[in-house]
């Protein structure tokens, strides 16, 4: 277990591990704590940008018929405000805590893939900078953060504005999915001994749920954005009504992502509150398993409610009723969480720290946002509330009252752990009250404004509608929020310079992060702790009292028996439990790497090239590909990386591949579903039955199936250590893949000769994009196999490396299975 980190490599690796403090050490860092800080600082900067956008909008709306900004500027401001706050502020704020705290809370030394973690951050930064660069070329996105097609098509939005938006969202999505895979593997596979799933802190649980949501929810919007990109750049017809397209396609794809996204934004805050309340009530989280299950249920239901964003589009009464009921069901686990938090406070010994203020603020404010959400779960009511300021009020109560209050709670709670200094508690409480008052002054009146008919996204309104006074109040309130954020910045700077030094455990915490110094050493823990139950560190500190109470509790008794026995054992021994101590010099830490930032720069360059010249796209892509190869092969021969088996008893890389393939299922599922939804809607030919060549495609399908067989043989050969056979079968698999690609090239050219291209009709658009992306996956697989083959030829693919062939095989088989689905659904079913 934990082999990555405990194989002795001597002093060398440890000195390499980015202990320095220069700019270079930050650029090349792969330390999860530093990456967490990078996320946090970036998020705060973009949070300020989004906040300034909001303030300008509020100034424009303070009076009727005002001219602070014009229509186009205002439309750009609300588009950028929404996009920025969702993708560049709240998500990376959560990512900051996630990065910093999850490994500490599960007793790990880093994440499963530290360099991949750095790559996620740099790609995020590239996307964020690219999005905001739009301001500097005078083309900020202006079609709303959910960019409804067909307003976003070239016909109605000819400028580069929407291109900036769709390209940066794809870049940001890639960053999120990579991070999602990384953290799922980390949480499942890097837990300290004894940290069973049900002993994991609730914050870690919520992080896990959120990562699953990210991995599964981003592919649908990615596909939607790819369609939009193809429509805008290559003339396809996915959102072209005259070609037979259905504009609800975009709305479905967007909200299948968009609703889980709401939980991606709120669940980390719920997790933070579930840590803060017990600490400051000095009492365990009430019904922790139920809080965990309800978080999982919220995530699960979150995929089944997207259409409640679409009650006004006319889906018909049956769909309206069904989505209404599922939406209302989500209120149950959400309510359960709130009651469990209340019960946690009840009977506790509450210490009113700033962190507790924000956590309690979340309970109160999120309750309002949750309840107004229940109101528009009812379609008839929603038809009056949607797209009005009532909804604006609702989601700000969720995202500020929920997410932001939670994130501030986390900031005050974990700041001493991260910086080693305390924030000023008095200033913190002042900040809390100003935020609470400013926030309510801004957004509570918006419920009323919505109820008396003020639509959202209007840059101006006439006098005499009854909207004037409360708009003015709302604007004044917004400056209260700004003041509060300013005070936080003041507090942070003051603390870094002159704040009181923090002990390792300033709050009398309950979880493992408080068991190591503040800030923690590069390797987090000298000895990996042994985990004996929920709130394991509290049990260590308070011993029998805490432990015995746990077995009396109602639902907390789960797994208490075994833990109880262990607890007795270590209390008898009289010292805190750890796994067998590893000598400090034996701790292997990942070496810093500059390849992540270079790969990210390549992606940013390619995105910019899409707006400038195709040569720049190619240059950027080349940089990315080269650096990813360098990245992959950088530590190829590092013996510390040979065995990466974790808590699940499975290699990290295999868990990662399975997770990634789950994401890919959603990707291809969306592409195939679109093909099926658009089947028969083309208004001009050629139609599928006139052109598909089933005998030829049957041959290519057979070829691809056989390649899977060769892949199995290749893996078996590598596992046996039979290098001759390994080479033969790897070569064979790649060759069969190439033959399949040859078939596809033949098919594509013959279709083009027969007059079917991407631009011909909906069939052409859906067919070429679906099979084209599959072909791209096959190409990637061939490149991967060839890389393995080259490694083998150079004698670097021994038995110990079998897992590398195994994950390539998993990918290869998956791509084959996808083809079978495509072959059946596209070619065989008439």
């Amino acid at each position: 277990m934990m082999a990555t980190h405990e194989v002795a490599l001597g002093h060398h690796a440890r000195e390499q591990a980015g202990v320095g403090s220069g700019v270079w050490s930050w650029i090349t860092t792969v330390d999860h704590k530093r990456i967490g800080i990078l996320y946090g600082v970036s998020a705060f900067v973009f949070f300020l940008v989004g906040g300034i956008e909001a303030l300008i909008m509020r100034m424009q709306l303070a009076r009727p018929d005002s001219h602070v900004v014009g229509a186009d500027t205002f439309n750009a401001l609300f588009t950028m405000h929404g996009t920025t706050m969702v993708f560049l502020a709240i998500m990376p704020f959560s990512a900051a805590f996630l990065n910093y705290m999850v490994p500490l809370m599960i007793g790990a030394r880093d994440v499963a893939f530290p360099r991949l973690n750095a790559l996620s951050y740099w790609i995020f930064l590239a996307g964020a900078i690219f999005l905001n660069a739009s301001f500097f070329v005078g083309a900020p996105p202006n079609a709303g953060w959910f960019g409804y097609a067909n307003l976003t098509t070239k016909q109605f939005s000819p400028g580069a504005n929407t291109d900036f938006w769709l390209l940066s969202l794809q870049v940001l999505g890639a960053s999120s999915v990579l991070a999602g895979v990384n953290f799922i593997v980390t949480i499942l596979n890097l837990r300290a001994p004894g940290m069973t799933l049900m002993r994991m802190p609730v914050f870690v649980w919520m992080a896990l749920v959120v990562q699953f949501l990210i991995v599964l929810a981003f592919p649908p919007i990615t596909v939607g954005l790819i369609f939009l990109m193809f429509d805008r750049f290559f003339g396809t017809h996915f959102y072209d009504v005259t070609a037979g397209a259905d504009l609800l396609l975009w709305q479905h794809l967007f909200w299948i992502f968009g609703h889980p996204e709401v939980y991606i934004l709120i669940l980390p805050a719920f997790g933070i509150v579930s840590e803060v309340l017990p600490t400051f009530a000095r009492k365990p989280l009430f019904g922790a398993p139920v809080v965990i299950y309800s978080g999982v249920l919220i995530g699960f239901f979150g995929f089944g409610v997207w259409s409640h964003h679409m009650f006004a589009v006319g889906m018909g009464p049956v769909a309206d009723a069904a989505f209404s009921i599922v939406t209302m069901l989500i209120a149950i686990p959400t309510g359960v969480k709130i009651f469990n938090w209340l019960a946690t406070l009840w009977g506790g010994a509450i210490r009113p720290t700033t962190a507790l203020h924000f956590a309690v603020g979340l309970i109160a404010m999120f309750t309002i946002g949750g309840l107004s959400g229940v109101m528009h779960a009812s379609p008839p009511v929603d038809l009056q509330q949607t797209d009005t300021y009532f909804v604006v009020a609702h989601f700000h109560y969720v995202l500020i009252g929920g997410s932001l209050f939670g994130l501030f709670a986390g900031a005050y709670y974990w700041w001493p752990k991260i910086t080693g200094r305390l924030l000023n508690e008095r200033l913190g409480r002042v900040q809390f009250w100003i935020l609470l008052i400013g926030f309510n002054a801004t957004f509570f009146p918006q419920h009323y404004l919505g109820a008396i008919g003020m639509p959202r996204r209007i840059y101006t309104y006439p006098a005499g509608m009854g909207w004037d006074f409360w708009n003015l109040v709302s604007t004044i309130g917004a400056f209260g929020i700004a003041l509060s954020v300013f005070l936080f910045a003041v507090n942070a700077i003051w603390s870094l310079r002159a704040g009181a030094m923090a002990s390792a455990d300033p709050w009398d915490g309950r979880t493992l992060e408080w068991r190591t110094s503040s800030p923690p050493p590069v390797h987090n823990f000298d000895d990996i702790p042994l985990v004996l139950g929920r709130d394991t560190y509290w049990r260590e500190k308070y011993g029998r009292r805490a432990a015995s109470a746990s077995t009396e509790g109602g639902s907390g008794g789960r797994g208490g028996g075994a833990a109880g026995a262990q607890t007795e054992a270590y209390f008898a021994a009289g010292r805190p439990p750890t796994s067998p101590p590893a000598a400090a010099h034996a701790i292997h830490l990942p070496a810093p790497s500059y390849w992540p930032i270079i790969a990210a720069i390549g992606i940013g360059v390619a995105a910019a090239g899409a707006l400038l010249h195709v040569a720049i796209v190619i240059a950027g892509a080349l940089v990315t590909v080269v650096s990813l190869f360098a990245f992959a092969l950088e530590h190829h021969r590092n013996p510390a990386h040979v065995h990466q088996d974790g808590t699940l008893g499975i290699d990290h890389r295999k868990v990662a591949m399975w997770t990634f393939l789950g994401s890919e299922c959603m990707f291809f599922g969306t592409l195939i579903a679109t093909y099926l939804a658009y089947r028969g809607r083309s208004v001009v030919g050629p139609h599928p039955h006139e052109i598909l060549n089933i005998p030829v495609t049957s041959a290519s399908t057979f070829d691809l199936l056989m390649s899977s067989l060769l892949m199995v043989l290749a893996l078996a050969a590598v596992q046996r250590g039979d290098r001759g056979q390994a080479r033969l079968w790897l070569f064979g698999t790649a060759l069969f893949g190439l033959i399949f690609l040859g078939f596809q090239a033949y098919e594509f050219t013959s279709f083009i000769h027969e007059g079917l291209t991407l631009r011909t009709n909906l069939f052409g658009s859906t067919f070429f994009v679906l099979t084209g992306f599959h072909g791209a996956h096959v190409s990637l697989g061939v490149a991967w196999l060839v890389t393995l083959l080259v490694l083998d030829l150079r004698g670097r693919l021994g038995r110990a490396d079998a897992v590398k062939v195994e994950i390539a095989g998993l990918y290869w088989h998956f791509v084959d299975i996808v083809w079978i689905a495509i072959f059946t659904l596209v070619y065989l079913i008439p």
Binding site: G70, A71, D72, N75, A143, Y148, N150, L151, A245, D246, L247, K283, P284, G287, A312, V313, G314, P317, A321, S324, I325, A331, I332, G335, V336, L342, G347, G348, A349, I350, V360, I363, T367, L371, S372, M375, S378, P379, P380, V381, D382, L383, Q384, Q385, I452, G453, P455, R457, I458, Y459, G464, M465, G466, Y542, R545, A546, A549, S550, G553, G556
Partner: protein, 335 residues
């Protein structure tokens, strides 16, 4: 001292303002969602009311419990460690089941109203086709051969069946006091059915962001009693009146300029991209309902539409102010 007194006064005025606004928190303003004037809006308000009260009760329960917990369970220095209670199955079950019951109370009327309000239009309903354009509303009465813009005339007490069509991007038709919104989606046909209660003027506007001048896509529904509605229909069906004097010049200018490419005036032109102007003079508002129809506004509009309405699809067609004034006089004469 003066400034102190000034400050007091400002504060006092501020307080009065708050009190007035709260006391007079007018729930019956022009676009109120809670002041119904049709069967549809009343059905919605019925559910709206039930849910609002349910949520207020829940909010009170949560906030009172929270307040009591915060006041009662403070940490006392040197106090004992609180009992480490980890859960209580019965309690947790009960606060899972209670919300489920409340949701049932909300769900039942919700489902009833969904099906009641989305059924087919009753026989004898007045059929009207609504088209949302960037950024104005077109209303066509297929049985009556009438086309108008931004002002929708309907009779009180008679069911009205709106058929929503989208010629460009997605819009959303919304007259809050007459009912909830329904999107106007290109490539799909949506429907709204309602019966207005009493004569009056009801305001609405586009509720789905549709581009630059989304904020300027407003409309009014004018509900008339039956006799007045019949008179209106007769007037709209009549041919455009023949102009004289300045208005006659305006007609000439209109007929030979780019106007005819987009606008219909029955007997003169047949454009379809802009509003039908046959009875332009009978409308109180124009330009997507953002401006009152008077000679000054119409003239300024004709000279440079995008100046008044950002992004306007109607370009400046190169008329002088003088010519524009003649055209305006002509258009306003089309009553």
């Amino acid at each position: 001292m003066t400034s102190a007194r000034h400050g007091h006064r400002a504060r006092f005025i501020g307080l009065v303002g708050v009190a007035q606004a709260l006391g007079g928190c007018a729930w019956d303003s022009r676009m109120s969602t809670v002041s119904p004037a049709s069967d549809l809006a009343r059905s919605i308000l019925h559910v709206y009311g039930i849910i609002t009260w349910a949520t207020i009760v829940i909010a009170l329960v949560v906030s009172v419990t929270l307040a009591i917990a915060l006041l009662r369970f403070r940490d006392r220095p040197g106090g004992p460690l609180p009992a480490q209670i980890r859960g209580h199955t019965l309690l947790e079950l009960s606060w899972t089941i209670a919300p489920a019951l409340i949701l049932l109370v909300i769900a039942i009327p919700t489902i009833q109203v969904i099906f009641r309000t989305q059924g087919p239009a009753p026989k004898g309903a007045l059929q009207i086709t609504v088209r949302g354009w960037q950024w104005w509303w077109e209303f066509r009465y297929p049985g009556l051969d009438i086309a108008t813009a931004n002002e929708l005339y309907v009779p009180a007490g008679q069911p009205v069946a709106l058929r929503l069509e989208g010629p460009d991007v997605i819009h959303s038709f919304w007259i809050p006091r007459l009912g909830g919104k329904r999107d106007v989606v290109p490539g799909r046909i949506n429907h709204i059915t309602f019966t207005a209660d009493t004569p009056g003027e009801y305001w609405g506007q586009c509720a789905e962001f549709c581009g630059t001048s989304h904020a300027n896509m407003r409309m009014r529904v004018i509900v008339l009693d039956h006799a007045a509605f019949d008179r209106w229909v007769a007037a709209q069906r009549a041919p455009a009146p023949e102009p004289s004097g300045d208005a006659a010049d305006g007609k000439t200018i209109f007929a030979r300029s780019a106007c005819v490419g987009c606008h219909t005036i029955r007997g003169l032109s047949a454009g379809v991209l802009g509003p039908d102007l046959t009875h332009f003079g009978s409308r109180k508002i124009f330009a997507g309902g953002m401006l009152p129809s008077d000679a000054e506004n119409v003239t300024a509009w004709i000279v440079d539409p995008p100046k008044l309405k950002p992004g306007s699809k109607m370009p400046a067609v190169g008329l002088t102010t003088e010519q524009a004034r003649s055209v305006a006089v002509y258009l306003l004469s089309l009553r």
